[in-house]
Every structure is written in structure tokens, then in C-alpha cells.
Symmetry: C2
Subunit: 155 residues, 2 copies
């Protein structure tokens, strides 16, 4: 175990989500269930220079903080069936570390603002990281979905 | 802007990576460039119950903390060409928030240990989240790769 392994990790938001989803009930279960909705990722000024070359990527990975998450429980029910499932086998926002992750389509880059499609984050969500989506290592279209197989709508 | 938007976010590791990659130079640029290598994600006891039902998923998303990351710079070079690129258009670990993300194959679940393929994390990396990979919303095999197109090896 590395001596430098931290007991906790402190992160600072690099931006904020502007979205039409203002409450938990307004947000879709996955961003891609509402493909007509566009959201904005507003990147704070110290980080804008680091957006260079992003416009060439059709898709991005957005990691954000679910600031309205509730305390987590190890076993939960979901909208997809009535059984209890292990939390890590779900995409519930109510996690030990409430990190949200969405693969989004980059519609437009306007200065410090990314206009994106497919984001389910609530308005005001702190953005922690932006990564380019690389189909060579990120796309596994034939992956099996365990208990969710056949239960979740396709995009 | 929500009144509850935090200036910083504190996360606690839910587990730790055990991997043959002990230094930055030993680790591959992407985990899938070394598909023969297996790593272990050891989940700490308060979180083991939440692993229920994970074994049905062929692939998982692992979010970890790059504990040996260096200070970030907005423009960097990478192994793939000689030009400067915006940091957020790269997968460098040296980010404002050094979060690592890998889509891995779940080879075996043994109690609190996930044996996985495709993880590039260094030994001792704190694990922050485990999510099931959902091809319906996570797989975009035709996404375009911007400046990386044709430069990064296929898996």
C-alpha cells in the first residue's frame, strides 16, 4: 500500500452545469432518454485554455458531483424492477462518492461554454473533469447488462 | 447557481487498486493496450454489500484517484504527436482533478475483490466509484477522436 495513499481526496470544481433539469424529479434517468435536450457546461476561467482541441471530438465524458445526492444505502430499488440491487450495480446518484458520469455529444464549443447533448446532470452541478471519449477504449457495444438487460430503454 | 454548490468536494476511497503497474513508466497509456494483464480492485468492508448483482455485468466503469499525478498544465504534449494540446482533449493523469477512468472487463468477483482486465491504474490507487457499464448509453463506437484520430493504437 503506497505511503501516499490518502484517507480522503479534495477536489475543486472546474465548472458548473447549466441545465433545464432543476429538481431530481425533472431529470431523466439517463441523459440519452431526452436526446432533444441541450445542456451547457460552463468552464471556469483558470481552465479555459485547457479546452483547446476539444472541438474535434464528437463525444466527451463529463464527470460531475451530484450535489443533491442523498445518503447512500448498500441495497436499493430502482425504477427498472421491484427487487433490491447492490448500489454499485446501479447508476443511482446516491453513492458513497456521488460522482455522476455521462457520455455526451459535443454540439458546440463557445468560448468557455460546452453545449452538449445527453447530459442528465441537474442545474448547478459542479463539474469535476472533462475527458475526450475514445471509442477504441471506451466503446463496448456488446457488453452485457446483468439484471438491467432488457429492462432499460434504448437510446 | 444553487446555494448548495460547494467550493470543494471531499471524497473517501471505497477501495484500492492492486496492480502490477508500480510506477508511471510501467503503466500502459491505456489499460486495453495490455489486455493480458489482470488487476484487482479491493473494496473496503463498509461497501462490500453494495457489490451485489455486479457479476452479471461484463464491463464496469472504474473511477479512481491518480495519487501519483503531477501538477497540471493547460497545454501539454503526449506520446501521440509533438504538438501542444489542451489538457481536456487528452487523457493525461495530470489534471486539475486527477480522476482516472477506465472501462474494464469484469473477469471475476471474489468476495470483496474484483478481478478486472483493461485497468491502467497504478498499484495503490484509491478507488472512488464503481459503475455498471451500460452499452445503451455508454457505447458510441462511431465517435470521432479529433486530433487523436489514427494516432492511438486500437485495442
Amino acid at each position: 500500500m503506497g505511503a501516499s495513499r490518502p484517507a480522503s481526496v479534495v477536489l475543486r470544481p472546474i465548472g458548473v452545469v447549466r441545465s433545464p433539469y432543476r429538481t431530481r424529479t425533472e431529470a431523466p434517468r439517463q441523459g440519452w432518454f431526452r436526446p432533444e435536450v441541450l445542456s451547457r457546461v460552463e468552464v471556469f476561467s483558470p481552465y479555459v485554455k485547457a479546452l483547446k482541441d476539444l472541438e474535434g471530438f464528437s463525444h466527451l465524458i463529463i464527470i460531475y458531483y451530484c450535489h443533491l445526492a442523498r445518503p447512500w444505502q448498500p441495497l436499493i430499488t430502482t425504477p427498472w424492477d421491484t427487487r433490491l440491487h447492490g448500489l454499485f450495480a446501479t447508476r443511482s446518484p446516491d453513492r458513497p462518492n456521488p460522482l455522476g458520469l455521462c457520455v455526451v455529444e459535443l454540439v458546440e464549443l463557445q468560448g468557455n461554454v460546452l453545449v452538449v447533448r445527453g447530459l442528465d446532470a441537474l442545474d448547478g452541478s459542479p463539474v469535476l473533469d472533462i475527458k475526450p471519449y475514445l471509442p477504441t477504449v471506451d466503446a463496448f457495444p456488446n457488453a452485457s447488462m446483468g439484471w438491467l438487460e432488457g429492462r432499460m430503454p434504448l437510446r
